[in-house]
Amino acid sequence: MSLLKVENVSKRFGELVAVDNVSMTVEPGELRAVIGPNGAGKTTFFNLISGFLTQTSGRIIFDGDDISNQLPARRVWRGIARTFQITEVFPELTTRENLRIAVEVAAGYRTKTWLSGNADGEIKARVTDLLDMSGLVEKADRLVGELSHGDQRATEIMMALALKPRLLLLDEPTAGMGDQETYDITQLIRKLHKDQKLSIVLIEHDMRVVFHLADRIMVLAEGAMLAEGTPQEIARNEAVQEAYLGKAA
């Protein structure tokens, strides 16, 4: 069974059709890239999947269940985690605290006022695992707001990962990063996909990243789906070259 099925979803803001009748199917373990020129509706499309916005028409099926009208928190509980184009972290808390909050919420402790020694130990161990995986160990006790853009981005991805998602949505994970940072984040995403078999959908502008990572690519233009296929197919597609790649080249 497909993990995510988006069926003929549209989103209108008054006269503007931001997402126009788009469908997409993501299989378990797949890494799907969504590309397109600025204003193509990529982020709006993400916002519909994650519940940040509600679609005007169409349906979203996750793991066999219709989640079209569920609140964001409920979609998170089902296993959809996301990051944002503009990094969203808890700036005046440390990296460790940022991760700890995510781990505690994922463990179902969000309304607890007390943790047993055992539970506390498990939470701490999980936070340490995430810190190790992200390479943020030395920065664990610094305020996230003081870290570099790349490290903040890595923290946000680790927070999403702390939720043990079944589907991870990454909105331009390398936006605004230097070459080294882009490389590090790309390696991290690749590791999550290859080693942990995590299903990922990512929006990305950097074509090196897209063609390096993606199993399949969907191209949006002016809200509608222009093409879909493997990286090789997309690279050969003339409509795509005209609308998007041609301009970049």
Partner: protein, 317 residues
């Protein structure tokens, strides 16, 4: 000094000062009853800050729950039972439960809108207390009622006439309330409050139902506030509609900001400064509020983290 040691030193200093207050305050020209007022209004400011500083939600009508606590305690002592603990319980429940009910209606509002709605609720209760003279005494306030001696099984403590005994009674109540607050703030739930303060969008997309958590934090804050209000009725043997007024809410917010709203103890320090200034300046001029206001403006302009924030920053560098 490491951060942990500094925090422990601050904690020890605050508790030593509070426990020994009846000894050192008279030496500096103070009096024990002033210390009692600092504890009670400090607890109220800490309750406001539980929401403002740790959840990032500004209520500008929190005096409503404070005043309701005072009336609840006073009415119980006057009409129902001559028992100090029952009075405290009744006042806390009245303010807390009403806060929980009304809070459920407003948790979707944010920022200025939230503040405006809380002012409106506060004023509703102010006018009820003001107009319903037959029950509340109207503008003259609710009286007469008196705090009752405590029956501890082996001994009876006369907290009505012995101001030192009353101070320690209030200190014990204060200690229980702030211990509960600290306990909550250090828990997973407390960390979700910080998460909402820091970044509501991130909190929501971690799977925290933000409105529900704000409502719980608001409700807890109302209970703490009503508890402080009940104690205030015992301090004065009197409950007054002005305790519900939005200017009283403003005073609490001022105390919190003055002392430092990102620190746990800041509002207590803020309340102490506020009350000492009030006590000292008002004996010289009736325009004491102008001076407190000026002091407040200076603090906000130059030390936005408040007095305690300033001290902590200094010792950190």
């Amino acid at each position: 000094m490491s951060e942990r040691n500094r925090a422990l030193a601050l904690l020890a200093a605050i508790w030593a000062a509070l426990i020994l207050a009846p000894l050192w305050m008279p030496l500096l020209g103070g009096f024990t009853a002033l210390g009692t007022r600092v504890l009670v209004l400090g607890l109220a400011a800490m309750s406001v800050n539980f929401l403002l500083g740790f959840t990032g939600v500004l209520s500008f009508g929190h005096a409503a729950w404070f005043g309701l606590g005072a009336y609840g305690c006073g009415l119980l002592l006057k009409f129902v039972a001559l028992s100090t603990p029952l009075g405290l319980l009744g006042g806390t429940l009245l303010g807390g439960v009403l806060g929980a009910l009304l809070g459920a209606l407003i948790v979707r509002r944010r920022g200025v809108y939230f503040a405006m709605v809380t002012i409106a609720f506060g004023q509703v209760f102010y006018y009820i207390a003001f107009q319903w003279s037959s029950l509340t005494g109207g503008d003259d306030g609710l009286r007469p009622f008196y705090r009752q001696p405590l029956h501890l099984g082996i001994a009876v403590v006369d907290i009505l006439h012995d101001t030192t005994a009353f101070y320690y009674f209030v200190l014990v109540c204060f200690a229980c309330a702030v211990a509960a607050m600290a306990f909550i703030l250090r828990s997973p739930f407390g960390r979700t409050m910080l998460a909402i303060r820091e970044n509501e969008r991130r909190a929501r997309f971690l799977g925290i139902p933000v409105e529900m958590h704000i409502w719980i934090a608001f409700t807890l804050s109302c209970f703490f506030m009503a508890f402080a209000g009940s104690l205030y009725a015992l301090v004065n043997n009197f409950a007054d509609p002005r305790g519900l007024h939005y200017s009283q809410s403003g005073d609490f917010v001022m105390m919190a900001v003055l002392g430092g709203m990102r620190s746990f103890w800041g509002p207590l320090i803020g309340a102490a400064i506020f009350l000492v200034l009030q006590d000292y300046i008002s004996s010289h001029t009736e325009n004491w509020m102008s001076f407190v206001g000026l002091f407040f403006v200076l603090i906000v302009l130059f030390f936005p983290r408040g007095v305690l924030g300033l001290i902590q920053r200094k010792s950190a560098s």
